[in-house]
């Protein structure tokens, strides 16, 4: 047990070193991209093209295969940033700050996708683009938190200070995630009811649920690829004056 733990620890420390991660990222990026494209496309094609229509909403319910994975991923990315922020604050690992920086635009992007697709879905089913209910509002707050993290870091010249400021925001902001998750139970919202489902009704049917699962998996794969892609640029940008970058990136 101890041995396994120390191996994991050594691996983490190795991956935390920018040159090592850069080398790993460069060689595995095509594989990560391939895997992401396969799972992502499989899920979306299955969901949008082959899953059955809904008895009530018809085909428009298929937006779920875009909306739900984006929303789940957006929340997961925030939790991921908070963990990175914690590591950055306690261990002062440089890579943790870089992780936050490369994850934030992705999180903001997926939150925006969830908000926009939700809005389109809402227009056709609810009859409105937007309503200030607890679920929609708390998701919008998460989008602003992502924007604040991006803005804060780019406004601070000193990278170490920037990392520290952004880490605080990432760790404290994570409370928004459980609020978003539970908002539909805690308050009366227009979004997906829990009050009216007390009447005995089945959950989503398996031939709709399985493609959704594949979509969620595909979105996660895509995130891993996108994060590796972003982190590579972040590392080179921050370490451009180091000798290893000159050797490995500029090939002098």
């Amino acid at each position: 047990m101890n041995r396994v733990w120390s191996r994991i620890k050594n691996w983490l420390i190795a991956m935390g070193s920018p040159p090592h991660f850069y080398r790993w990222a460069t060689s595995s990026l095509p594989w990560l991209a391939g895997l992401a494209v396969i799972v992502f496309c499989a899920g979306l094609i299955w969901g949008l093209g082959f899953s059955p229509t809904d008895y009530k909403q018809g085909d428009v319910y298929r937006i779920i295969y875009i909306h739900v994975p984006s929303a789940i991923l957006a929340e997961s990315i925030y939790i991921f940033m908070a963990i990175s922020g914690f590591i950055s604050m306690v261990w002062r690992a440089k890579i943790a700050g870089m992780l936050i920086n490369s994850a934030a635009p992705l999180g903001a992007g997926f939150t925006l996708i969830a908000l926009l697709t939700g809005s389109i879905w809402g227009k056709t089913t609810w009859g409105t683009w937007w309503v200030w209910d607890a679920r929609l509002t708390s998701t919008l707050i998460m989008f602003f938190l992502y924007a604040a993290i991006i803005g804060l870091h780019s406004s601070i010249e000193n990278k170490t200070k920037g990392d520290r400021a952004v880490s605080i925001l990432a760790v404290l902001g994570v409370v928004i995630v459980p609020i978003i998750k539970k908002s539909v139970d805690w308050w009366q919202t227009l979004h997906q009811p829990s009050t009216f489902t007390l009447t005995s009704s089945p959950s989503m049917s398996p031939d709709m649920y399985l493609p959704l699962l594949v979509c969620v998996l595909g979105f996660y794969c895509l995130f891993i690829f996108m994060l590796t892609n972003g982190l590579r640029a972040e590392i080179i940008s921050r370490e451009r004056d180091k000798s290893w970058v000159k050797k490995q990136f500029f090939k002098y």
Partner: protein, 51 residues
């Protein structure tokens, strides 16, 4: 084959909603993939010019 594609595209009139969602998804993901690539290219150009 063509017919079933047309049915898939129109989706009983709800097609535009579903496909615009897909478009939003693809656009935002593409932007987020391209930004780091462009950033790396720019650093490379600046770095090689200096030497």
């Amino acid at each position: 084959m063509l017919d079933s594609l047309q049915i898939l595209f129109i989706m009983d009139g709800k097609g535009p909603y579903v496909w615009s969602c897909l478009l939003i998804l693809i656009i935002i993901i593409t932007i987020n993939i391209i930004i780091p690539v462009v950033r790396l290219k720019r650093i490379y150009r600046e770095g090689t010019l200096e030497e």
